[in-house]
């Protein structure tokens, strides 16, 4: 945003991929799914779930993708920036782009029109499309409520309680209205529409869950419809299969319903797909369906109603937990699907996995009070995960439980260790693990005016095999309500804020050491300084930011500012504070030791910043500019009011990304295939390694991930990989425990043995 400063706020992944209906297309061998994601069009492989290409170029939200009807390897995309672009999505190349004259066609605030835009056939790449004629006025902004009929002869659109059908040839419009109120109080407003590809039949979905099939709609009076009812809530989307044999419908129930057009009473179901279904699309050959869900997920379903692939984006529903970084995978952890925690890899822009915390079936129905994950915290090493789930927040009878999860190395996932039901009398507000390595300790604060300390230990009574958690200490202070708690970086001190008072406790003896008080106003956030600044404790109230020196137990400095969010970087002394100022959020980076900020940026984003987190970098940057040094070791991610995940990117980083992209680009002059890139690179690196010295510690078993070859193998989309038989030796080699002497022999001629796989699946050595 602020270019000259060399640092800019960028959107970092997690875009909504289910915003608009995707399309499925196919080249000679592989099937692709294209979907609009923010201002990009992403091309996924339906078999590997990998993102194959990203079509970049739009400057606004992409509002629709459609296959070129004359070439199934090309795609048109339209965007809120007022352009239509034609892409070759196999190579990811922009072929043409059309500039629509009036921008309001795409983003008119209330009154939407359906217009026919003539795309002129001219050789230039950049074309202005001027010819435009309005087809229907006042249509719904939802593209699902407009559909083209058989062979493009008519277009059907629904709005409110009216279905409008416009015949292009006869230039005639027919309108059919439903009664405003049925006797039974049915909500019969239209929600979506679909047209049969072969017959003249229009299917409409309604708010009360009914589906109506309209026929004879070229008659003013003698039109007719039949009604089907399965959905208990509004029908979200409708789609006919390519041949018109089936009608697919979906809604809040998250069940894909396949209706048989011939036998209306027969229907098939595919339940438990995830969130509410917002779009359904069918591949041109009718073999694959895809359902887009509101929880940012696309399911690819074989036409026999078997789930074949899942493309999951970052789930941005209700977020109650903090943003956290899993210390092991460096994945971003937050609320995912209802009752789950999602682990999202920010580097790959992909969900790693979703951990079921509540372990209860979620019922897809509005207005139900179901368990939700409210708080979560990781221990320092990432071995322990504490979660709090709650139900009955609105009603008085609160049910909550504190769960502690341990990481199982073998299973590579978290396992439930202890469940404490009703850990506190009231809602748990905050919790944190002790950073000290000797003891595993968790502190929770709750509205019942207590904070509790939980310790891991062997239960002496039951003589159980494994250690479990139990309450060690219950603390309170003058019957005040505790809000925040925070451990010092060595874990020796615990700070708990009780309204306006900050209390400091010794974590060994649970003795109240001192109290700090700086009225007016209750303490909002509490945070210890790190590393060299660990003697400082930072606290915020609605008006001020305070810094106490714990050695002197006195206020070091304070500054009047409305801090809405305060976080310290675990890898440096830096602390970041977000402050809301006249509708925009400003960012301040400072060290507790000096009140002067290291870096400030006004108006980072509009609205209040909801959550933020520091994520440690894999490789530290070496930025020389003093102002950006705070970004060297960690990256700051933050979530805005509009649920956009943003981060800061420096110029150097941008350049690096650009370079890496250029490297990947295939130069046409040299016959460089991805295969060559893969093997060539592998070879180079191996050589480098040899040069740099082979005497690295070989006694440790190298986990498979470490091998670059494997990484390349696993991360390259399957359809661009060479035959598996060819890669086999490389793969086997990388798994072998390297013995320096023998390795040299092997490495010298890695491909001297022609390999081929036998018919029975065994690998045969053919001999030289």
């Amino acid at each position: 945003m602020v270019e000259e400063s060399g640092i800019r706020v960028v959107r970092c992944g997690g875009n909504k991929i289910s915003f608009r209906a995707p399309i499925i297309s196919k080249d000679s061998r592989y099937e692709f799914l294209l979907c609009a994601s923010g201002d990009l069009v992403k091309v996924f492989s339906t078999s590997t779930e990998e993102c194959v290409h990203v079509l970049e170029g739009h400057t606004g939200q992409v509002t629709g993708v459609i296959l070129n009807p004359t070439n199934h390897l090309q795609v048109y995309s339209c965007s809120a920036d007022g352009t239509i672009r034609l892409w070759d999505f196999i190579d990811g190349i922009l072929i043409k782009f059309f500039l629509a004259v009036s921008k309001s066609v795409f983003v008119s605030p209330e009154n939407f029109q359906l217009v026919a835009l003539h795309l002129p056939k001219v050789p230039e790449q950049e074309v202005e499309a001027r010819e435009m004629s309005a087809v229907l006025c006042n249509i719904s902004s939802n593209p699902g409520s407009t559909a083209m009929g058989r062979g493009g002869e008519y277009v059907a659109s629904v709005m409110g309680r009216q279905l409008t059908v416009y015949f292009f040839k006869k230039l005639k419009t027919y309108r059919f209205s439903l009664k405003a109120t049925d006797k039974k109080g049915a909500k019969n407003a239209f929600t979506c529409v679909a047209c049969h590809p072969k017959d003249d039949c229009i299917a409409t979905g309604h708010e009360d869950g009914k589906i109506r099939l309209w026929r004879n709609f070229n008659q003013k009076k003698e039109y007719t419809y039949s009604t089907q009812h399965w959905h208990h809530d509004a029908v979200g989307t409708l789609c006919f299969t390519t041949e018109g044999m089936h009608l697919l419908s979906g809604g809040v129930e998250s069940v894909l319903v396949q209706w048989h057009c011939e036998e209306v009473n027969k229907k098939d179901f595919l339940p438990r797909l995830g969130g509410a279904i917002s779009h359904i699309c069918v591949s041109p050959d009718g073999q694959m369906y895809s359902t887009s869900h509101l929880d940012n997920k696309i399911n690819i379903i074989h036409c026999s109603l078997k789930l074949s692939a899942v493309i999951q984006g970052l789930v941005k529903g209700n977020i109650w937990t903090d943003l956290m970084i899993d210390p092991r995978t460096r994945a971003l952890v937050m609320n995912g699907r209802p009752g789950h925690l999602q682990f999202y890899s920010l580097q790959q822009d992909k969900q790693l996995y979703s951990l079921d915390i509540v372990q209860q079936e979620y019922i897809n129905q509005e207005g139900l009070d179901q368990f939700e994950v409210m708080r979560a915290a990781f221990s320092v090493g990432g071995t322990w995960l504490a979660t709090v789930e709650e139900r009955g927040r609105c009603t008085s009878d609160l049910e909550s439980s504190l769960k502690l999860w341990v990481y199982n190395e073998k299973a590579q996932s978290f396992e439930l260790n202890t469940t404490i039901t009703a850990a506190h009398q009231d809602r748990i507000m905050h919790m944190c693990f002790s950073p000290s390595t000797e003891t595993t300790m968790l502190v929770t604060t709750a509205w019942d005016n207590q904070f509790k300390v939980w310790l891991l230990g062997l239960d002496s009574d039951t003589q159980k095999e494994h250690a479990s958690w139990s309450c060690d200490y219950v603390g309170s202070y003058h019957g005040l309500q505790p809000t925040n708690c925070c451990f010092s970086s060595d874990g020796s001190l615990l700070a708990v804020s009780f309204k306006e008072v900050v209390t400091i406790w010794s974590s060994d003896t649970w003795e109240l050491l001192t109290t700090l008080c700086q009225p007016p106003g209750p303490i909002r956030e509490l945070c210890f300084g790190r590393l060299s600044c660990s003697k400082y404790l930072l606290g915020t109230t609605a008006k001020n930011l305070f810094c106490w020196n714990l050695l002197t137990c006195s206020l070091e400095w304070s500054t009047p500012m409305d801090v809405c969010l305060l976080r310290s970087d675990p890898l440096s002394e830096n602390v970041v504070a977000f402050s809301l100022h006249s509708g925009n959020t400003d960012l301040f980076v400072f060290r507790p030791s000096e009140p002067r900020p290291l870096f400030t940026q006004k108006a980072v984003c509009g609205g209040k910043v909801q959550r933020c987190v520091f994520s440690p970098r894999e490789e530290p940057l070496d930025s020389c500019d003093e102002r950006f040094q705070w970004l060297n070791r960690s990256r700051l991610y933050f979530l805005t009011e509009l649920m956009e995940l943003l981060t800061f990117s420096t110029k150097a980083e941008d350049e690096r990304i650009l370079n890496s992209r250029k490297q990947l680009l295939v130069d046409d002059s040299v016959a460089v295939t991805p295969f060559y890139l893969l093997l060539g690179k592998h070879r180079q690196q191996q050589e480098e390694k040899q040069n740099s010295g082979v005497s690295q510690a070989a006694d440790r078993v190298q986990p498979p991930q470490a091998s670059v070859a494997i990484k390349e193998l696993l991360h390259t989309p399957a359809h661009v990989l060479p035959a598996a038989s060819f890669l086999c030796s490389m793969f086997v080699n990388s798994l072998l425990i390297s013995n320096t002497g023998s390795r040299n022999l092997q490495e010298e001629k890695p491909f001297s043995f022609p390999l081929c796989s036998g018919t029975n699946g065994q690998i045969c050595w053919l001999g030289m």
Binding site: K198, D200, R215, N216, N218, K221, E222, T224, Y225, H232
Partner: protein, 665 residues
């Protein structure tokens, strides 16, 4: 409008019987309804589905099917007999035994020359229709198993019969089986061991046969090749009845779930000729089996086990909103089943097989149980008269303290054999008995017995039966209305016809002569109100004013006819009317309601100050606080007798419907 003491009567256990068959006569737009108790009712489609005639029958007849041949109506039942009805006099004309065991179906060909009946013994019997009788012509090739359903091809040369598991086509010329078209009715989805009953077949003019069966399927067959074109699974239970519209573009299907499903013959691609039968609408107006369904040009008429007669209009065929576009649900008969002695406070309830006499004011009731069959009865003061299909009875009633006794009057004049309507004069001195051909017999009652005086005959010479009689309070006038919509007024002093009221297009559903002004007040089936001055032989000014001004649309949109008219003895300007859902007092002194004014305005009037009320009040005072009404009468002592029959009580007595999964159960 005043307050009344109300006798709320709920002990009349009126129970309508289930509808078994329907038949439509397109030329005269009459619908015949056969009920399981043997009754046949005739509804007039053109006259707001008014129940014009009720022909009592016997339960043993077990009527299974009805057929119109021109204006003549035939029925056949499981007792093996074919009945022709005398529609003029509301009785059975003659009965013929078909000698084939129980008859399951009867249909006539389009030409009106033949009747075909399907019998239990596997024969289809053809009867030739003559002027006055029907004559057996021949048996078509006998099959194994019963013939459940029949349908003629519109050309009349072929007939299709639905049986157990099989559909056969017969050639009516030769009587032979025309190629075994469907050797085995393919039961897709049902096990072989289970029999599949073809409950209904329809033969279309293009050679398509449509069948509905007990497997819940509607199947379309090609009759030339005997192949299945399409099969629709309509229900999990039975498809009981089919009916195709006259232009063969629409098909109504009745199922045992209580649904009526419509199929339409539509082109799949607009503007092309290829058409297919597509399932379109589903109507869920019944709770029990739909045993009969009819496609009547603009509406689908259905009836079944739940005793309702439902008229579901097809809105795409109706041009404007109005009476024709409203859903009609006929549950109660369009005539009075209760007779009331206003001075003595006695109520007489008419059941199909007996009468019950109740006295008001006390909680005890006295039952007068008779095994008799039907027709009307009227009681006034000390007499009870009733008539069955076969005979006429008169009783003298003694009512002292709590002892009620009746004495049969033995010697009755021979001419009083059977009656359509009975009426006493207000002083109990005369008895009026409506007989055949719109004639009314007059008899004098005295201590010794009953003496025949004369027979009053209308000038028009109409042959229709009288369905309403009304005598004036002063004993001078008698009015009779017949099902030709004619209203005759007789002068009882001269025993001569006095005049004829101009014929209104709609039948009279209730009428009465005003006690003081001697104006005949009539309510018609189309909800129009007329008042005719008997003495002046012309419509009264008020009646003319009503015609000029027009009635309020809410009044005209009511779907049940008024079945009783009485007058307030204290206030001659008040007329009390009631239909099934409301009772109403019309104040002739107040202005008629405007089209824009609020029709149901009692509540708003009550909230207004006294002075303003006058400005806003109008002639119609409606009261809807009661349950479904069978009878309302204003007694001498200004108390109101209200006979309610809540529909809930009727549905509670019905057998359990087929089990259906309800959402969230």
């Amino acid at each position: 409008m005043g307050e009344f003491n109300v006798h709320r009567v709920r002990f009349f256990d009126y129970m309508p019987s289930a509808i078994r068959a329907l038949a439509f006569q397109p030329q005269r737009e009459r619908i015949a309804v056969a009920r399981t108790d043997g009754t046949v009712e005739i509804f007039n489609r053109a006259d707001c589905f008014f129940q014009e005639k009720v022909i009592p029958g016997r339960q043993q007849a077990a009527t299974e099917a009805l057929a119109w041949v021109g204006d003549r109506l035939f029925s056949a039942g499981l007792n093996g007999e074919i009945i022709e009805y005398d529609l003029d006099n509301n009785k059975t004309k003659y009965t013929i035994d078909a000698y084939g065991g129980p008859i399951w179906s009867i249909t006539s060909n389009k030409q009106g020359t033949h009747l075909a009946v399907g019998c239990e013994d596997g024969t289809v019997k053809l009867f030739e229709v003559h002027e006055d009788r029907i004559q057996f012509e021949r048996n078509l090739a006998k099959q194994k198993g019963r013939i459940i359903s029949l349908s003629w091809h519109p050309s009349g040369s072929k007939i299709v019969a639905g049986m157990m598991d099989v559909i056969h086509i017969f050639d009516t010329e030769t009587g032979k089986l025309r190629a075994l078209a469907f050797p085995s009715y393919d039961l897709l989805g049902t096990s072989r061991s289970q029999e599949c009953v073809v409950w209904s077949v329809v033969y279309l003019s293009d050679g398509t046969i449509i069948s509905g069966d007990s497997a819940g399927k509607v199947k379309m067959w090609d009759s030339r090749t005997g192949t299945l074109i399409k099969s629709h699974q309509v229900t999990k239970w039975d498809v009981l009845t089919l009916s195709v519209s006259q232009d063969e573009t629409s098909l109504a299907v009745g199922t045992s779930e209580g649904h009526v499903v419509q199929f339409q013959f539509l082109s799949m691609v607009l503007g092309q000729e290829d058409k297919e039968w597509v399932r379109t609408r589903t109507f869920k107006n019944h709770t029990h089996d739909v045993r009969a369904v009819l496609e009547v040009n603009t509406a689908i008429v259905s009836g079944g086990m739940d005793t309702q007669f439902v008229v579901r209009p097809l809105l795409d065929k109706i041009d404007e909103r109005g009476q024709a576009s409203a859903l009609r649900n006929i549950q109660f008969p369009h005539r009075r089943l209760v007779s009331c002695a206003r001075k003595a406070g006695l109520l007489l309830f008419q059941y199909p097989g007996h009468l019950e006499l109740w006295r008001l004011g006390e909680s005890e009731g006295n039952g007068e149980r008779k095994r008799e069959n039907t027709t009307l009865s009227i009681k006034r003061k000390r007499w009870i008269a009733y008539s069955t299909v076969a005979s006429f009875r008169l009783y003298r009633l003694h009512c002292e303290n709590n002892n009620v006794s009746i004495i049969k009057v033995s010697k009755l004049p021979k001419v009083l054999s059977s009656a359509n309507q009975i009426c006493f004069s207000s002083d109990s001195s005369h008895l009026f008995v409506a007989s055949t051909c719109s004639s009314v017999h007059v008899a004098i009652l005295n201590q010794s017995g009953c003496k025949f005086v004369c027979t009053l005959k209308p000038k028009s010479g109409s042959g229709q039966a009288i369905n309403l009689l009304a005598a004036s309070e002063d004993g001078k006038w008698l009015a009779s209305a017949n099902s030709d919509h004619e209203v005759q007024i007789y002068n009882l002093n001269k025993m001569k016809p006095h005049c004829t009221v101009p014929v209104h297009s709609s039948g009279v559903s209730a009428m009465a002569i005003h006690p003081t002004t001697n104006n005949l007040f009539m309510v018609h089936a189309d909800q129009q109100l007329t008042e005719y001055s008997v003495e002046k032989k012309q419509y009264t000014d008020w009646s003319r004013q009503v015609q000029r001004h027009g009635l309020h649309s809410l009044w005209l949109e009511r779907d049940t006819p008024v079945t009783n008219v009485t007058f307030n003895p204290k206030n001659p300007a008040h007329i009390v009317l009631h239909d099934m859902y409301m009772f109403c007092i019309i104040d002739q002194t107040l202005p008629l309601p405007d089209q824009r004014s609020q029709f149901y305005n009692q509540l708003t009037l009550r909230s207004m100050p006294e002075k303003e009320r006058k400005k806003h009040s109008h002639a119609f005072k409606m009261c809807k606080i009661f349950k479904e009404l069978l009878f309302v009468e204003l007694m001498e002592d200004q108390s109101l007798v209200v006979v309610e029959r809540p529909l809930m009580d009727i549905t509670a007595q019905l057998p359990a419907p087929v089990r259906q999964k309800k959402f969230a159960t």
